[in-house]
Symmetry: D2
């Protein structure tokens, strides 16, 4: 029997293929609201948005912090979507517990064992990204750190690994999806946006993930990608996203699964 995670009204795992979408970073209320309305209308069931952004350089935009979490919660309520956001230490975790429905541990913190234990104690569902050089085995052990604290609501997220290939930002290891389903009871989703690094590749990789058996997707959508403060080149436009969800619906159906189609009439 495979596990599921309940995030607000949404469920990850089971027959439905969950679509989590939203901008890389929360930037402002209006922009986030615009994205949230579209992704909900297209069928997304969880809203994502980063408030604490781990960035390679200390001089890059680091996210809005608590204010970002507050805006995410407000927009989530306004459109009726549960929310997920990344935490980076116990302080940001404590804030996140107030504002969001699911906490994310990012790839760079996959073996930050102090953080894993803390999210394990916190009780909210956890989205655990695979480290960029972590084996599937190490990833499952990282999940074990969370579960050993009593929290079974863990969702694994493949987001690409480091290889020699320079044409993509990372190499999406699509085999990780059936591997996790063979080795673990936990739901496994895929983030094609970070793997690809370029929006042109996001749709094919998202389709591949669903076809391989993923329990969900995490997709970056921005209403004006060319103005995004973070990772604009990999963000889908709302229009791209709507088209993609329609394709995913058909692929999921081919496998006896379901991707919600949303209510596109609601956009207008």
């Amino acid at each position: 029997l495979r596990s599921t995670a309940r995030v607000g009204d949404a469920v990850i795992g089971g027959r439905s293929v969950a679509v989590i979408a939203g901008p890389c970073a929360v930037e402002d209320y209006e922009g986030l609201l615009a994205v949230a309305r579209t992704v909900k209308a297209a069928g997304a069931t969880i809203l994502r948005g980063g408030a604490y952004k781990p960035r390679t350089s200390p001089y890059s935009f680091q996210g809005l912090g608590r204010e970002g979490l507050r805006l995410l919660a407000e927009v989530g309520r306004a459109v009726g979507l549960p929310t997920v956001s990344e935490v980076v230490d116990e302080r940001s975790l404590e804030e996140a517990l107030t504002y969001v429905d699911m906490v994310q541990v990012g790839a760079r913190n996959m073996q930050n064992f102090v953080l894993l234990r803390a999210v394990g104690r916190a009780g909210k569902p956890v989205l655990l990204k695979r480290g960029l050089a972590a084996t599937v085995d190490e990833w499952l052990w990282a999940a074990e750190y969370i579960m050993a604290e009593g929290n079974r609501q863990v969702v694994l997220c493949e987001r690409g690994i480091r290889t020699f290939e320079p044409a993509t930002r990372y190499t999406l290891d699509v085999s990780a999806v059936p591997l996790v389903r063979e080795l673990s009871h936990l739901p496994v989703i895929v983030d094609p946006s970070h793997a690809a690094g370029r929006r042109q590749l996001v749709a094919p990789l998202a389709r591949a993930a669903v076809a391989a058996g993923a329990d969900g997707l995490l997709i970056e959508v921005h209403h004006q990608p060319e103005r995004a403060l973070c990772d604009g080149p990999q963000a889908l436009t709302p229009g791209d996203f709507c088209r993609l969800v329609r394709e995913l619906h058909h692929i999921a159906a081919a496998l006896g699964r379901e991707v919600l189609r949303g209510d596109l009439g609601a956009i207008a």
Copy 2:
């Protein structure tokens, strides 16, 4: 406009998703005939079988050589399928030109430029596997070696790259499919069998490949995988293969493409 390759009556590229199937190595007439009948009935349009096998150790089974090519041709004629087999030098190429409809350049020879030029001059369609540490860019340059000799019938085949992950034999780089389709006019297919190294993963990877836009698949099928002389653990049984082709048919349809369903009644 995208290119296509014509292999006997089959076409690779275009609306159809080609399914090439057969054993890793040609072992004997009866076994090959059994596999060939099943894969044809299930919808495969090209028969594969190795006669010259590049093996890590000089003491492993190296293939039947010319006799293997002869058996492959004979079985292909018997069941009505065109054939493809790997060549490893000018001598095996010359033999292959007599017997098979398409020649394969293996991953380990992707930058054997003498061989690339030779298959370029030979005129038959060429299946060019990606080297296990080749970038997409280097792979396209390898194709250019073939085309520079006047042969435009080149089909690229992604078969997994070398990474740090030990849970799969190689890491299938599914992103290579949309990348090639963006950068080149050549058809691109996927070999999930070598990438996975274990039959349990072959079906999900094959589905992912089609969903990502692959123009075809190269799948190892053996009537008795546990007795195979080469790569048995990654070979599908005929039954597995039939089930997989049915799934692929639905996924291709979701994308407006087609996988032939064969005539399973023909097996009985």
Copy 3:
């Protein structure tokens, strides 16, 4: 002008090649004292020992925590060596500031930006290990997080990267040494023990590191490796370590640098 870091009486950077040695984990007073006496006699100038151990599995030995730091400090004082130990969050950092002379940020935390900022504010010298899939560029940016808080006492430590090669635990990227010396003013040292994963390879890698221009080495030594609670297979015996330091002395001299020879008479 290249930077140096001052750790107690020891200096990292400059003409001397610093040798940091000790067990993977602090286990008990007697064992640590035995190792500390030997490594000092052999020429080591800083004593290492882990108290907070990041381990793949939550069920492996996790270190003695504060008690381990206390024992390390006590033994350091007893033999007259400054000490370094890994910190994993702000709590362990606060404890470490009481007990040790240099704090280490481990490979798995190289992009734990919260921790980097905290050690940046703390003021003690920092040993920053390279992440196992971090580019040299990302590693230098991680150091920048520390320096941006006003702490210039950063020492970089190459400890092997993740590659496809299974014969070593990691692949020592010896090129990182001259690269760092070209791109940065910071001292760079090498940890051959974690890279190799087996004691037979530690000496050749240590020699290679010094020959490539490393400003120091971090070497695991255990008085009874077969009984070590952590990473025993890669620990040198005290005798191996003494022989190695003698070789390093000669190689450093060949480059106009110096490795202290210690006073081996002191062991008896």
Copy 4:
């Protein structure tokens, strides 16, 4: 007992550390002669020069072929150095047997088993480069293909492997040196030029290789690197090379081995 290979009057393996040097490609008699005189005077004992160049693009300079082999032999005789050059198929091998003293199998052909068998039958000493994604184990099996044909004069050459690090052309796997010495009786040398891809890194990597126990080095030297037809950025100038050999002499001595110092007076 470790094996040695005899190349003209030079020996690879044993107490001496062999230095093989010369340009990436043979371009013309005068240039090659100038390089050959300098490298001999500096202490090199074998002259290298490529005549058949495997290049990523079919439109890059492919080498002078047989004429290049002829020039190499002529210059070798003129300065009194034995020679080594790469072969890429049976035809170039046959030519090489007439002209050079050792044949090289390049990284891209490490698993071109037809070529391995052919050089095994040919009887001349073979320099076998490691494939850019080959494990040490696969590399030793490739050597076994040569030895299985009766040729025991095989020298292994580590030249860098493919990893995620973009700051170097390849990642020199210096651990391969002690690994090969542990697992095999064959001599193992290192090519720091291809690994580094930039001349600034060649000297530190060459020193590291000798310190790790390498039996020799293969170093690219060009009299006018900025005009080289191939791989100019990684070629040392004659002056750089002389300085490097002097450093290597001291490092080898520290390990009880020897690098010939040549007779620099002979340059003037």
